[in-house]
């Protein structure tokens, strides 16, 4: 449904030039299949955020190649022209904090993306409700973000990330602010949604609680990724 997931080959990112140049990403290779959830771990300064920003089309890599779904978005200096539309249609974002729009109710927080893409309001809201139901927060559909618990807000953020059926979801420390039980619930939901919507999910995390749940992990160190097999432990 969503093509070939995410493919990154030889991705490089250099900040600055001359003597002050820093190679944040030296040689990153990643492959995440549709429906798969992989972890991206590494110490501070290893290049996780830079990689996430390159994947999220908010930072230009220096070299390499990136493919989202069936679309090449970067190829050795060439990049897709409308990155705003790319982020809207091809990438779902989930952050450490939910960052819901405080002045929109839960349904419209999720429905905003399809609305921005030009989908009719009614249809956008119907899609939002479908996802909210799948994530078991449909009973708070008309509530404002401030009226929800942290776990509920994070589920709404997941729904927002999924609503445009993107081929990839980038989750930046999605469980950092949650307790163990809620953190595991979020990972379980991400896995379910990834399978259901055939979405490739990359979870950047430091969270020791959830690292054992990944079947595959990418360890990034000094701008280079190393693939590792994870434990793929069942969710509690």
């Amino acid at each position: 449904m969503n093509g070939k997931g995410v493919r990154i080959e030889g991705l490089r990112k250099r900040y600055g030039d001359g003597d002050t140049a820093v190679d944040a990403l030296k040689n990153v290779d990643m492959l995440v299949a549709p429906g798969e959830v992989v972890g991206l771990i590494g110490p501070s300064g290893s290049g996780k955020s830079t990689l996430l920003k390159c994947l999220g089309a908010v930072l230009d890599p220096t070299g390499g190649r990136m493919t989202l779904g069936d679309e090449v978005i970067f190829d050795d200096g060439w990049k897709v022209r409308d990155r705003r539309a790319l982020r809207r249609d091809k990438i779902g974002f989930i952050f450490q904090a939910p960052y819901l729009i405080p002045f929109l109710d839960i349904t419209d927080n999720v429905a905003l993306l399809p609305m921005l893409a030009g989908t009719r309001n009614e249809l956008s809201r119907a899609r939002a409700l479908e996802l909210l139901t799948a994530l078991d927060v449909q009973h708070r559909a008309l509530a404002m973000p401030s009226q929800l618990s942290g776990g509920e807000q994070q589920r709404v953020a997941i729904a927002r990330g999924l609503v445009n059926r993107p081929p990839v979801i980038l989750a930046d420390e999605p469980t950092a602010a949650l307790d163990s039980e809620r953190a595991m619930a979020v990972i379980r939901i991400l896995n379910e949604m990834a399978r259901k919507y055939e979405t490739a999910v990359i979870v950047v995390t430091h969270d020791e609680k959830i690292i054992p749940t990944f079947k595959r992990l990418y360890h990034i160190r000094d701008g280079v990724t190393h693939e590792e097999m994870g434990e793929g432990r069942n969710f509690a």
Binding site: F95, I101, R160, L170
Partner: protein, 401 residues
Amino acid sequence: MISLAGRDILHAWGKFVFTGVGLGLLIGVTLIMAGVYRGMVDDGKALLDNSGADLWVVQKDTLGPYAESSSINDDTYRSILAMPGVAQAANVTYLTMQVRKDGTDVRAMVVGIAPGGPGVTPGWPLYLVAGRQITRSHYEAVADVASGFKLGDHIIIRRNHYTVVGLTRRMVSSSGDPMIFIPLKDAQQAQFLKDNDAIWQNRRRTRANPAFDRPGTPGLLDAVIDSQSTNAYVNAVLVTLKPGHAPDEVAEAIQRWKRLTVHTRFQMEDILIGKLIATSARQIAMFLVILAIVSAAIVAFIIYSLTMDKIREIAVLKLIGTRNQTIASMLMQQALALGVIGFVVGKITATFAAPLFPKYVLLMPLDSIVGFLAVLIICVMASIVAIRMALKVDPAEAVGG
């Protein structure tokens, strides 16, 4: 597409409305300031309208009787009446002074009007709101309601007591002081009336002058003293014209043959508005400019603050693919909504506060329209700062690290 601006306003409507009310009070002050200026101009025009004159004949080479002092003989009007094109000519005196009543006093312009009647003799109040016109030769007065006097009140001008027999409205001087009309002879006396000691000293000086107290001419001293104790001067002669006569031509003839200065209505407006209230008008204009700048700065600051509060949301909106145009539109709509709320509050405030001011405050619909447009323009300009800042927000800020 839903209205992001509308949702944001509804979400924090209390904060938004209170901000709008604060801004509205500032706009209200600005509108009142404009109204004060309009009131001054209107007072000047009311003074000219109420005089009922087409021409003002004054002392040669003066801008009298309102902007400069002017003094001409009180029999001059007879020769002016004989000039071609002149329908009516009447003496008038103006004296701004404190008029007393029961231990308190009111700043007023005392107007001496020649015998005659309203609509016939220039200078008379054309309409009364209560009472009657002056019918006796002395000690009756018609007062503007702004003076606070009532029918039957006894007021004191110099040493004489007057009874208020009529009340009029919007009869004010160019500085907004209410007018009090009294008979011309009383007004002439009031202008030059001295206290008893001064009169006695003056007579003593005259008597001591051998030129006036000649043994061979016994009536000379009395004649000189009599001439010193009477006032045969007025400030101006108000002239109305016969139909079909151009004011400029009649004025030219009077100036040429009577060696006096004559101002037409157009010239008097220029004197009053261009000279008499020009400094005050510039002062108010400065206040208006300062208030407009302060309002713009406050609107800019408010919109900037509201935007700063939403910087994370804006980063998220940009990251998830919201167009810059949508974000700019949201901020501009909020700025305009703030301006509309502010203007409505300001207009209501100005409307209810204007009558409380001691001087006339004239709120003109055109000023309100111009003010409304200015507020909208200021809001748009002010929102540009916030929009520029919002558009500079890097969507990467929403991503950690």
